[in-house]
C-alpha cells in the first residue's frame, strides 16, 4: 500500500490588527498556500500564553506559528515586544519537550503583507513536512 503523504496540521495565531488582516489580504489577492494552516485570531500576539503553544504541540499539532505586527507597529504599543520575549521561553521549552525548534516560529506580518503571509505559510508547511509528524501525535 502506498503511504499517504504526511499532511501536517499547523496552528497560526494571528493578531487581529496586522497579521489577521495580512492573511485576509493574501485571500483578497488570491495568493495560494497549502490548506494545512488553521488560523486562530487573537487581539494581539501578546495574548498567546506560552502554555497554549506547548499544550497544542503536546496534543499533536505539528507546528505552531505566532504572527504579529512588526515591532513598533503593535496596535497595543508593545504587546509584540512581550511576545518576542516569550518566544525565547517557548524555544527553550521545546528543547525540554524533545521537539525540534522548527516546529515553532514567530513572524511579523503587517496588514499590507498578504504576499508575505502566503510565503511564510508555504515555508512553514514545507519545513514541517520535511520534519515529519510531531512525536506527540497520537494514533
Amino acid at each position: 500500500m502506498e503511504e499517504e503523504e504526511f499532511e501536517p496540521l499547523i496552528i497560526a495565531f494571528c493578531c487581529n490588527w496586522c497579521s489577521y488582516a495580512g492573511a485576509d489580504l493574501a485571500g483578497v489577492s488570491r495568493f495560494q498556500y497549502p490548506p494545512n494552516i488553521r488560523v486562530i485570531r487573537t487581539m494581539c500576539s501578546g495574548m498567546v500564553h506560552p502554555n497554549l503553544v506547548m499544550d497544542a504541540l503536546t496534543k499533536g499539532a505539528d507546528g505552531i506559528i505566532i504572527c504579529g505586527c512588526h515591532i513598533g507597529d503593535c496596535h497595543y504599543l508593545e504587546g509584540n515586544v512581550v511576545t518576542e520575549k516569550r518566544a525565547e521561553a517557548i524555544e527553550l521549552m521545546l528543547e525540554d519537550f524533545g521537539l525540534e525548534p522548527e516546529r515553532f516560529r514567530l513572524e511579523w506580518v503587517s496588514a499590507s503583507e498578504g504576499d508575505k503571509f502566503a510565503r511564510v505559510m508555504n515555508e512553514m508547511v514545507e519545513t514541517i513536512k520535511a520534519l515529519g509528524p510531531s512525536p506527540y501525535k497520537m494514533g
Partner: protein
Amino acid sequence: MVDKVGAVLVVGGGIAGMQASLDLADSGYKVYLLDKSPNIGGAMSQLDKTFPTNDCAMCIMAPKLVETGRHHNIELLTGASLEAVQGSPGNFLVTIKKTARKVDETKCTGCGLCTNFCPVEVPDEYNVGLVTRKAIYVKYPQAVPAVVSIDLEHCIGCGICEGQCEAEAIIYDQEEHMMDIEVGSIVVAPGFDLFDLARKPQYGYGVYPNVLSSLELERMLSATGPHAGMVLRPSDGEVPRNIAFIQCVGSRDKQIGNTYCSSVCCMFSIKEAIIAKEHTPGLEAHIFFMDMRAYGKEFDAYYSRAEEEHGIRFTRGNRISSVEEDPVTHNLFMTYVDGADLKTEEFDIVVLSVGTEAPVDTDKLKQVLGIDLNAHSFCETNIFDPLSTSEPGIYVCGAFSSPKDIPDSVAQASGAAAMASSHISTERNKLVEIREFPPEKDISDEDSRIGAFICHCGINIGGVVDVPAVVEYAKTLPNVVYAEDNVYTCSQDTQSKIVETIKEHNLNRVIVASCTPRTHAPLFMNTIRDGGLNPYLFEMANIREHCSWVHSKEPEKATQKAKDLVRMAVAKAALLEPIPPIKISIAKSALIIGGGIAGMTAALGIADQGFDAYLVEKKDELGGMTRRIHFALSGEDVQARMNELIDKVKSNERVHVYTKAKIKDIEGFIGSFMTTLEHEGEEKQIRHGVVLVATGGIELKPDEYLYGEDPRVVTQLEYEDMLTNGGLKEGTKSVAMIQCVGSRKEERPYCSRICCTETIKNALKTKEMMPDANVYVFHRDMRTYGFRENYYREAAEKGVVFVRYYPENPPKLTVNDGKLELTAKDPFLDEEIVVSPDVVMLAVATLPNADNEDLSTFLKIPLTKDKFFLEAHMKLRPVDFATEGVFLCGLAHSPKFVEECLAQANAAVSRATTILAQEELELEATKSCVIDAKCDGCAYCVDPCPYDAITLIEYMSDGAVKKTVDVDETACKGCGVCQATCPKEGIFVRGFTLDQINAMIEAALEVT
C-alpha cells in the same frame, strides 16, 4: 428667519446615496432616501468584482445595503421621483411622486413565490437583458427593500400572483400618489447612465452577437449572472479562446460629443480581463487603448500585475476604428497599430468598454432643483466647492458631478453629508429616534444552543467549497441545533432569517462561516442583538479569505478545511458568555493634524458641526503644499481662495490653531484622546474625541535629468512659480515637459495622479503667455481623467506636441555646447526626436509626508508600502482607519487634486461627526477581567500592561487580607498581554479566554 428642519433628502440610492444617508442618519438627522428604482443599490449592485483588490462587490456592499435598509432614521422612498422643490436652505418643501408598486411593502416577505408563478417573461435589466425576469420581480437577490414589485408596463393583470401570495401583499388597486416632505437640505446622487452603444455602429454592437458591452461581460462574470460566472459566446454558447477590449467607446470622442474621459473604464477592463481569465482556463485577453489611466491608489500595481502575472496583453495608442464579423463563425476581426506596424487579429469576443454619461433624467433634476449643469449635462461644481451645486442648500456627490470610481464617490458622499448637515446642525437629534434593541435574553441557565449559517458568497466560497456538505457536517457538531446555507449570509433577508431562527430554535449562540470578521462581524453582531442575544454570543469562521480564495485549486481539501474551521468556531462559540456593554462619554472636539487645505477645511467643517477643532501645523504658516499652487486648470486664483480659507480658519472661534507646533504624544482612544503638543516652547495637553490626519505630501526633488546641476531644469511647482512670478526669460522659445519623473518606477511604483493635468495646465499657460513658444510633453500615458481631458484636447489643438516614451527608453537630456538637448524615440514613428529646450520642466512625483511614520506609531495606524496611510477599506471606507476614532484626508491618503482633497476633508468631518454627535459611546467590550479566586496577587501582569490599566489591591476575605488586581475598564483595550503573563489563569480577556482558545485548538486537532 425660517424654521430649520433636521432632515435631509438624498436623491439616488446607489453607493454614494447610501453612504450619505448612513452618515446623516448616524449623525442625528432624519433621512429620506429616494430612488426611482424599486430597490436601492445602484450601479454597484451589478458589479461582480471591484478593482484594485478584486473584492467581491456584493460582499462589501451588502452590509451597507442592510444597514441602510434597516436604519431607524432612514426612510426609503423607492419607485419614487422628485416633482417639485420649494423653500430655501434649512427648510425645503419637496413634492415626491411614488409610483404604484402594487405590493404592500410592509406585508411582502420577499419569499419570491409569486415570481415563480408569474407567466410573463421580460428582459432582465439587472442582467442587461442577457436573461429574463418576470413581471413581478425583485431586482436582484440581495435587494433592499427585499420586496417584490409589479412592472406595470408588462403585467397582464392575470391575478395569479395575488392568488399565490400567502402574505396577501399584492394590492392590484394601489395607485401612484404624491407626497410632501420637509427637509433642511438636499443631496443629489443620481449616479450615471451608460453611453448608448448604438451610436457607434462601426463596432457592430447589437448586430454581431459576440460584441458585448463591458457591463454585459460584468454580469456574465457574476455568480448571479446568466451563466453563474461563466463567460460564453452569445452566438453559440461556446467558451471563448480569446477576448479583446476596446477602450474609450463613448469617451474622449469629439465626433459623438463626449469629449471627456469616463475615468473608470481602464481599470474596469483590466479587472474584467483578470476575472475572465480566472473563470475561463486558457483564455487570452487583449486590451486596446489610447492611454492607460491607472491613476488611483494602488492602480498602477494592479495594472502591472495584470500584465506580468496574468499575462494580459496591452496595446497602447489605439483607437480601434471598426470591428468586422465573419458571418459564418461569428468571429470578429480588428485592425490595430502595434508600434509602427498595422495588424489584423481574430477574436471570439469583443468587449466595448462603454463610457458613462450624465443620468437620463438630468434635465428634470435641473428643472426641479434649479441647479446648473455643465456642457456635458453633469452637475456643475467648482474645484473649491466640489460638493455644492449652484443652488444653496443642495449638494452633490458621486458620478453626477463627473465620472468617478467607488472610493471617490463614497468620499464625496460622506463629504456632501457633512455639508448638508452643517447648516442645520442646530436641529440635530430633533427628528430621530434612538435605536432600541429588544431586551437581552438571560441565557445563564441554558445549555449552548448554536445556530450555524454557512455562506456560499455567490461562487466566492460556493465555487470551491462544497457548502451543503459543510452544513450537513455542522449539524453533527455538539451543541449545534440548527444549520443552513445562504447564497449571501450578509443580505438583508438573511438577517431577518437569522433573527427568526434565533427565536424559532431558541438559539443562544450563533456562528457564521463566511468572510472575515474584520469587516462583517459588526453586521452579524447587530443582527443577533435584534434577536435578543448579547452581541458577543457570536463567532465567525473565515472560510473565504482563509480558505476558498487561498485554496481555489483544491476544492476537496478546502471543503475539509472549511469543516475544520466551522468546528473550531463552534467549539469556541459553545463557551462564549454575554459581555456587558461599557459606555463612556465623548470629548466633543477633534484634533486635526496638518494645516494644509485639507486640514483647514476639516477644521472648519468640525466647527460648523458645533464642535471644537484643534488644528496643528508644524510649519509657521497655514496652507501647506497649496502655498505653491498659483492658479487652477480652470483658471481660478488658488492663492486668493487659500487666503480666504486661512482667514476663515483664523477667525472661527471654534478653531484653535497651533502653528509651529509639534506633536509629542497621543494617548487614549476613541472618544477620549489626550495629545501632548510642543508649542511656543511650552507643552500643552489637549483632550479630544477624534483625530483627523491631514499631513499632506511633498514634491520630490529628483536626481535625474540634470536637476540641481543645470538651473534650466526645474520641477513642476518651480515652473508654475516661474510662470506666475516672471521667472521665465523673455524670448523663451521652447519648453520641454517630462512626465513620470520619479513615479511609476521600481522604487516608487505608484502614479502621482496630478502631474499630467498640472502639465497640461502649465502647457496651456505657457502657450497663453508665449503663443509662439514650442511646448513638448514627453509622457507615458496622459492621465487627464474626467473633464480634465477637455484641457488635454485644448492643449493639443493649441499646438502642444505630445510625444510618448516607454520606460525602457526614457528621453535623454544632455548639454551640448551650452544648450540643453533632449532626445527621445517616438515609438509610433520609430524615429528619434531631438529638441533643444530653453527650459525643461520635470513632472515629479508627490511624496508622502516624512512625518507619517511617527504618526503611524503614535496612533497605531498602518501605512502602505509607499508610506501613505492605509485606510480601513480601499473601496468603501476611504477616509476611515481600522482604528476607531481616527480618520484621514488629502494627500496623506494618496496624491490627489485640490477638489478631491476638499471632498475627502469634508468626508472625514462627516465620519468624525457620526461619533462626536453621540452623547455616549459604547466601547468595544473585549476587556480584561480578573478571577479573584484564582489571582494570588503576584502582580506579574501589572508591569507588562501597555496601558497601566492594572493595579494591585488588597481586600478582606474570611478575616484575612488577600491580594488581587483590579482592571480599569476604560483604560484596558483587551490586548491580553496580562492573560498570557498570568501563571494562575487568574485574568482573562472576555471573548478570548484561555478556555475558549484551547477549545479551538482542540477542535483543530480533532481528526475527522
